[in-house]
């Protein structure tokens, strides 16, 4: 009978360990291998080089030539530096540091580490770094270094030119002495989710919610706080009731039942500020799939069509109590209106020319019992380019025209989608070239989907 034959490991064996080198660039890239620079799509691939004439210390620095907005090779600069080979063990360090200066004082949109175009598990980013024309040392604290025992993503950055959107002018910045360091002066962690806010959200079974606003903040030796955005994998998430909502390692909350559950998180043993309280009611199914051909549609909100620009789905008008949030069921998006008295949607940039359209379609869903009627108002702002409203009645004045469509309470069935098709008739029959506003009036909490004009 053969019992498992295990030979013990010899005393002379040296286990392979990952490099714990901290330096990434001093006068030359350190330990990155040969193929380590990977630009982002749409960026100028040649933005990065080694500059032998400019350096903070030693003989060379890394040079980044941020392009103009109209550069044919790419309208921004951005890339990752990924080790061409095995990753490093960075667990003994507490920050990525570097010296930087710029040809012009400006803001560097994103700089960080941990992106490898693979799992990107521990991406850490410092947003809106203020660059000056003089060498300054910058510190990107590591949210929890104990996680970084095998990391290939040494640096990531993204930079646009300076000036108005679409006409940015390029500039140059340099980075030198890029290295992971154990400063010993970084302390007092204050992690957060949802930007540190305690959020209460109504939701439905079947809905997924991405947790956002994940950050880590440390107090530096300078006495100033530094906040970085931290990937979900740094956090351990939990739910107070996994039969109502559960949360994945990636920070995606899945609502699986009815009731109440609160999602919280811990980073590096410290409870994160902020929480998400889910109040879930009922199951949700998708609205009926739109059937109109896209060529016959001007869509404001639907996953079935390309949507035209909408300024907002809630104007938060004075006197309005209505709140609006985004709900996602798989890939399907809804707008969720709660505490309704009235609410306005505006689409002014540009206004919608519905001259050739005949109907406005929308789908609504509520699990309330409607008591009052539900009204939908459609407003044309006329050629003066402005929505003109009587402040007392809410009605149209000047060159505006409007129709009001009423859905009676008895037509609204709790727990079922209601499809509404409103003829663009009456006062807007011959003036619908500048539609700019839709207003809902009522007393129900409702989901909105598939809001579009059609022929």
């Amino acid at each position: 009978m053969a019992v498992g034959c295990e030979r013990e490991i010899s005393d002379e064996v040296e286990f392979a360990t990952l490099s714990n080198t901290g330096e990434v660039f001093t006068d030359t890239p350190i330990g990155l291998g040969s193929n380590f620079y990977f630009p982002y799509e749409g960026s100028k691939a040649t933005a990065w080089s080694v500059d032998d004439e400019v350096s903070y210390k030693g003989s060379a620095s890394m040079r980044f030539d941020v392009p103009n907005a109209n550069d044919p090779e790419g309208n921004y600069a951005g890339a990752i530096f990924r080790i061409d080979g095995a990753g490093r063990n960075l667990t003994e360090y507490d920050a990525l540091t570097f010296w930087a200066k710029s040809s012009q004082a400006t803001t560097l949109a994103e700089v960080g580490f941990g992106e490898d175009f693979g799992e990107n598990k521990y991406v850490t980013t410092l947003l809106n770094l203020s660059l000056s024309t003089n060498w300054v040392k910058y510190i990107i604290p590591i949210p929890d270094a104990s996680k970084l025992f095998d990391e290939r993503g040494m640096l990531r950055y993204s930079a646009s030119g300076i000036g108005a959107l679409g006409s940015e002018v390029g500039y140059t910045f340099w980075i030198d002495e890029l290295k992971f360091e154990k400063l010993g002066t970084i302390a007092q962690p204050q992690p957060a989710i949802l930007g540190g806010e305690d959020v209460v959200q109504s939701s439905f079974e079947g809905v997924n919610i991405d947790l956002t606003g994940l950050t880590q903040t440390f107090n530096l030796g300078s006495g100033l706080n530094q906040t970085v955005s931290a990937a979900p994998s740094y956090f351990a998430f939990s739910s107070t009731d996994v039969d109502v909502a559960r949360v994945s390692e990636k920070g995606v909350v899945s609502v699986v039942g009815s009731g109440s559950a609160t999602i919280t998180a811990i980073l590096g043993g410290v409870r994160a500020l902020g929480s998400l309280k889910i109040e879930s009611s009922a199951s949700l199914v998708a609205a009926p799939l739109p059937t109109q051909a896209a060529a016959n549609v001007i869509s404001l909100f639907s996953n079935a069509y390309t949507n035209v620009p909408v300024d907002f789905f809630n104007g938060y008008y004075e006197g309005s109590t209505t709140q609006t949030s985004d709900i996602k069921l798989g890939d399907d998006d809804f707008k969720y209106y709660t505490d309704l008295n009235y609410v306005g949607i505006e689409f002014k940039n540009p206004a919608v020319n519905a001259t050739n359209m005949n109907f406005l379609h929308l789908d609504i869903w509520t699990n309330n019992v409607a008591v009052d009627n539900f009204q939908i108002k459609i407003r044309d702002r006329g050629s003066n380019g402005v929505i003109d409203t009587n402040v007392n009645t809410g009605g149209p004045i000047e060159d505006d025209k409007e129709i009001i469509y009423t859905v009676t309470a008895s037509e609204i069935t709790s727990g079922q989608w209601l499809s509404i098709d409103i003829p663009l008739s009456g006062d807007i029959a011959s003036q619908k070239g500048n539609l700019a506003q839709i207003v809902f009036v009522g007393d129900i909490d409702f989901l909105l989907d598939n809001l579009y004009f059609y022929k």
Binding site: K182, G184, A187, Q188, Q190, G223, N225
Partner: protein, 278 residues
């Protein structure tokens, strides 16, 4: 010249003799290869509080300064000092002084300031402390002339600051003396900074050795300053009994007000305080 030759011959003879006899002992003194300094030499313990008993600090040793003094204790400090447990208490072997943000008797912050009932001239005064942090946070461990009052006005009565600290500079502490002609912003002061560490993440030892002709300042195992009568542009008033004060102030001239980044409550933890004589 003649003497030189004779001397040389004698040396050779001496060397020869030495070689035959046992190698003489040489006693090394002065510079040793051990690089740590001896920072504290006064070893006769005369007072100590190890803060071993839970509850209010030992009332046979400590009293309290209460309230806001005059103009925020002459520094525009923002806190109201109390003797409440919320602001000062001993727990698990440490004295905890807590600065809290709360509305209290017209102030927006509360904290504590304890003073020894006893007094002593000269000696070694040492405490082991974990400091707080943040903009506008100002802890101190210091000595004040026991005669300070209407008769002998500050700074004539003298002040020795063993440790002062700005919460917005967590790697640096300051040691100072105040006297007539060198007080407030003109105090004689020296700073000490940690290189790869900070004062709010662990305990550090702060102390002075005060003798008639000098005051030595140390942090942990580093002697970082010595002040002598020659160093002060005025009378050397450090020749009479002083009391010990430990306090945690909020805001004031030395640190400025807290801001939105300052986290409250802030705590100062004192492991022990020990006083020695030379």
């Amino acid at each position: 010249m003649k003497n030189m030759n004779k001397y040389k011959i004698e040396i050779k003879t001496m060397a020869f003799k030495c070689f035959l006899l046992a190698v003489p002992f040489f006693i090394f003194s002065g510079c040793s290869t051990d690089e740590t300094q001896t920072v504290a030499t006064f070893t006769e313990l005369v007072m100590q509080d190890e803060f071993e008993t839970d509850g209010a600090p030992d009332s046979s040793i400590w009293g309290y300064d209460i309230g806001t003094g005059t103009n925020g204790w002459d520094n525009n400090e923002l806190q109201y000092y109390t003797d409440r447990t919320e602001n000062v208490t001993v727990q698990n072997g440490v004295l905890i002084i807590s600065a809290k943000e709360e509305s209290f008797k017209g102030s927006n912050y509360t904290s504590a300031r304890i003073v020894t009932k006893g007094e002593q001239a000269y000696g070694r005064f040492e405490a082991r402390i974990r400091l707080p942090y943040g903009q506008g946070i100002w802890p101190a461990f210091w000595l004040l002339g026991a005669d300070c009052g209407p008769a002998v006005v500050w700074p004539q009565c003298g002040e020795i600051d063993i440790m002062e600290y700005r919460g917005q500079e967590p790697t640096t502490i300051h040691g100072s003396v105040h006297g007539n002609g060198f007080s407030g912003g003109e105090a004689i002061t020296k700073s000490y900074s940690l290189e790869n560490d900070r004062f709010d993440t662990g305990f550090h030892v702060f102390g002075i050795e005060w003798a008639p002709e000098y005051i030595n300042y140390y942090v942990d195992d580093v002697l970082y300053n010595q002040i002598t009568p020659a160093d002060v542009p005025g009378e050397w008033v450090f020749d009479h009994p002083f009391k010990i004060i430990i306090n945690l102030a909020v805001g004031g001239n030395f640190v400025g007000a807290p801001n939105s980044e300052t986290v409250f409550p802030q705590t100062m933890l004192i492991d022990y305080i020990r006083v020695y004589k030379q």
